[in-house]
C-alpha cells in the first residue's frame, strides 16, 4: 500500500485522563502514538473500556489530550481557531442512530454540517444531493428521521458527515446497534466511500468480521495500542486476542484449526472466498501427491 510521507492524522504520546486534573481520574489513554494516512481503511478493535472511543474523539478535537498532541493536516487540535478545519476534515458518525440527527427532515439534517461551514446555497443543494446519492437515501429526503430504520438513520448520519467533504470518516461503533441488514448497508456505503471516493476510514467496531475487511487493524487494550498491522497478521494472534477479551473472525478460526490438523492448510484466512480458494488448492495439492 502506498503511504504518502505525511499522515492526515497523527497522534503523539497521547494520554487522556477523565476527571479532575492532577487528581486521580480514570486514565483512558496511556501514551498512544499512531498515524493515519490518506486512503487507508483502518479498523480499531478492543474490549469494552480499552479506550478506543476516547481515542476516536481525539481525532476531531471533541476531546483534547491531557498530555501529548494530535495533529490533523498540520493543525494541532489544541488550537480552537482550527477546530472548524479539523472537524470538517475528520467527520464522525456515532453509535446511537437516535442521538445524532438534528433536523426534523432528512435533507435538512444532511445540510446541517455544510450550513455550519457557511457553504453557499447553490453548492449546499448540490452537496446534499450528492451525499444522499452516495448513501442511497434520495427517496427518503423529505421523511422525518424518526420513521426510518436504524440502518437508514445511520446512512443519513453518514450523508450528513460526508456533505462536509471530509477527508477522514471516523465510525465510532456505528454498526453496533443495527440488525444484519442495516449493518450490511452501512458497511457497503463505507466500502464505497473508501474505494471510489478515496476517503480515509477509521472504524471502531466489536465485530471481528468487520475488522477483517480493513487494510489495517489497530488493537487497543487498557488504553494502549497493543497490535497494529494488516488484518492477516493481527488475526494470526488468536491466543493473545482471546486473552484480551477479543476474538478472531469465525472463518479465521476455522482455518487456524485446520492448520493445526494439517500444516499444509494456511492459518491466516480472512474471508469465505479465501477459504474456498485455499481449500481447493490444498485439495488439488493432495490430489497431485497421490
Amino acid at each position: 500500500m502506498a503511504s504518502p510521507a505525511e499522515p492526515i492524522v497523527r497522534l503523539e504520546g497521547v494520554r487522556h485522563v477523565y476527571g479532575p486534573h492532577g487528581g486521580k481520574g480514570v486514565e483512558a489513554l496511556r501514551g498512544v502514538s499512531l498515524a493515519f494516512y490518506a486512503g487507508e481503511h483502518v479498523a480499531i478493535i478492543g474490549p469494552n473500556g480499552s479506550g478506543k472511543s476516547t481515542l476516536a474523539k481525539h481525532l476531531n478535537a471533541l476531546l483534547l489530550p491531557t498530555e501529548g498532541d494530535v495533529w490533523v493536516k498540520g493543525w494541532n487540535t489544541r488550537d480552537p481557531r482550527h477546530w472548524r478545519d479539523v472537524r470538517s476534515t475528520v467527520g464522525m458518525v456515532f453509535q446511537n442512530p437516535d442521538a445524532q440527527l438534528v433536523a426534523t427532515v432528512v435533507e435538512e439534517d444532511v445540510a446541517f454540517g455544510p450550513e455550519n461551514l457557511g457553504v453557499p446555497r447553490d453548492e449546499l443543494r448540490a452537496r446534499v444531493d450528492w451525499a444522499l446519492d452516495v448513501v442511497d437515501m434520495q427517496a427518503y429526503r423529505f421523511r422525518p428521521p424518526h420513521l426510518l430504520s436504524g440502518g437508514q438513520k445511520q446512512r443519513v448520519a453518514i450523508a450528513g458527515v460526508i456533505a462536509m467533504r471530509p477527508q477522514v470518516l471516523v465510525l465510532d461503533e456505528a454498526t453496533a446497534m443495527l440488525d444484519p441488514l442495516g449493518r450490511r448497508d452501512v458497511l457497503r456505503t463505507v466500502e464505497h466511500l473508501n474505494r471510489e471516493a478515496g476517503m480515509t476510514i477509521v472504524a471502531i467496531t466489536h465485530f471481528m468480521e468487520e475488522a477483517a475487511l480493513a487494510d489495517r487493524v489497530v488493537v487497543m487494550h487498557a488504553g494502549q495500542v497493543v497490535l497494529d498491522g494488516p488484518p492477516r497478521e493481527v488475526f494470526r494472534q488468536r491466543e493473545r486476542l482471546q486473552a484480551w477479551g477479543l476474538d478472531v473472525p469465525h472463518v479465521t478460526e476455522l482455518a487456524a484449526r485446520l492448520h493445526a490438523l494439517d500444516p499444509a492448510f494456511p492459518p491466516d484466512v480472512l474471508s469465505i472466498e479465501e477459504l474456498v480458494e485455499t481449500a481447493c488448492q490444498v485439495w488439488a495439492g493432495q490430489e497431485k501427491a497421490l
Partner: protein
C-alpha cells in the same frame, strides 16, 4: 386495549400531507395569519362573532383537505374538563349587577345562581376552546415542523439584527424539541413496558397513596432522565462534530418564497379578524 401505546397520543408535529392550498402557504404568512386569527378568537365575546369564526375555520379545514373528524379527534380527551367548566360557569357565575350588565337570573338556589350571562360565558368559552384547538391543529397538520421553525426564525430575524433577539437559537431549540418528541415517546413506552415486565406496579393503593405513587414512578423517571441526559450529551457531541458553533456565518438550505396567495391569505385573516372584532354584533 393498548394501555402502553403512547405514540398515538402525541399529535404535536403530526403532519398530514395533502398538498392543499393551506399546505403550500409560506410559513411566515401562515404563522402571521394564525396569530391574527388567534387574536380574533381570544377577544370575541359575542355569539355571532364566534359563529363567523367557526364557519371560517371549518372552511379552512375543508380547504386543507384534512378530514374534519381527525382535526376534532384531539377534542375528545379535553371533553370532560370542558363540560365540567361549562357546568360551573352556568351554575356559579355571578355577574356584577351593579355595573349595569343586562343579565337575567334563570334560577337561584343556595349557592347556585344561574344567569343568562353565565350561559353565554359557558357557550362562548367552549366555542373559543374548540376554535383555538382547531386552529392549532390546522397549523400543525398542514405545516411541517421545519417550515414552522423556519417561519419563526425568519419572522424574528429582524429582531435578532436590531435587538440581539436569539431567533436562530429559538428556532433550533424548537426544531430539536420537535425532533425528539416522538423519540422520547417511544423511549418512555419502552421504559414503562420494561419496568412493568419486571414487576413494577403503576396503580398502587394504600394509606400513603401519594408518596407510594410518586415512588412507583421512580423506576420510569430515573431511566427516562438518565436516557435524556445521555442523549443530550451525545447530541451535543454530534453537533460539535458537524462544526456547529452558533448561528453566525451559517447558510441555509431552505429559502422561503412568498407569492400573491400568501398576501391574500394574510389579508383575508386580517379582514376576518377586523369584521369579528369591530362590528357591534347584536348578540
Amino acid at each position: 386495549m393498548d394501555e402502553f401505546e403512547l405514540l398515538r397520543y402525541v399529535t404535536v408535529g403530526q403532519y398530514i400531507p395533502t398538498g392543499s392550498l393551506i399546505h403550500r402557504l409560506d410559513p411566515r404568512f401562515k404563522l402571521a395569519a394564525f396569530a391574527v386569527l388567534v387574536g380574533a378568537v381570544t377577544f370575541t365575546g359575542s355569539y355571532l362573532g364566534n359563529a363567523v369564526l367557526l364557519v371560517l375555520i371549518v372552511g379552512l379545514v375543508f380547504l386543507s383537505r384534512v378530514p374534519l373528524r381527525y382535526v376534532l379527534s384531539g377534542l375528545r380527551p379535553a371533553l370532560p374538563v370542558l363540560l365540567l367548566l361549562a357546568a360551573l360557569q352556568i351554575l356559579l357565575y355571578t355577574p356584577d349587577f351593579t355595573r349595569g350588565t343586562n343579565c337575567t337570573t334563570l334560577f337561584q338556589f343556595w349557592i347556585i345562581h344561574s344567569t343568562t350571562c353565565g350561559v353565554k360565558l359557558a357557550i362562548v368559552s367552549a366555542a373559543r376552546f374548540v376554535e383555538l384547538l382547531m386552529l392549532t391543529s390546522l397549523l400543525t397538520l398542514t405545516t411541517t415542523t421545519t417550515e414552522l421553525t423556519h417561519g419563526i426564525e425568519r419572522l424574528f430575524a429582524p429582531l435578532q439584527q436590531r435587538f440581539n433577539f436569539p431567533a436562530h437559537e429559538l428556532a433550533l431549540i424548537v426544531t430539536i424539541t420537535l425532533r425528539f418528541v416522538p423519540t422520547f415517546a417511544e423511549e418512555l413506552e419502552r421504559i414503562v413496558k420494561a419496568q412493568v415486565s419486571r414487576g413494577a406496579d403503576l396503580g398502587q393503593r394504600g394509606r400513603l397513596r401519594f408518596i407510594q405513587q410518586t415512588r412507583a414512578l421512580l423506576p420510569m423517571l430515573v431511566p427516562l432522565f438518565l436516557g435524556a441526559l445521555r442523549r443530550a450529551e451525545e447530541l451535543i457531541l454530534a453537533m460539535e462534530a458537524r462544526c456547529y458553533m452558533g448561528g453566525k456565518g451559517r447558510t441555509r438550505l431552505i429559502e422561503l418564497h412568498s407569492t400573491r396567495q400568501d398576501v391574500v391569505a394574510l389579508f383575508v385573516a386580517v379582514l376576518a379578524a377586523a369584521t369579528v372584532l369591530l362590528v357591534p354584533w347584536p348578540w
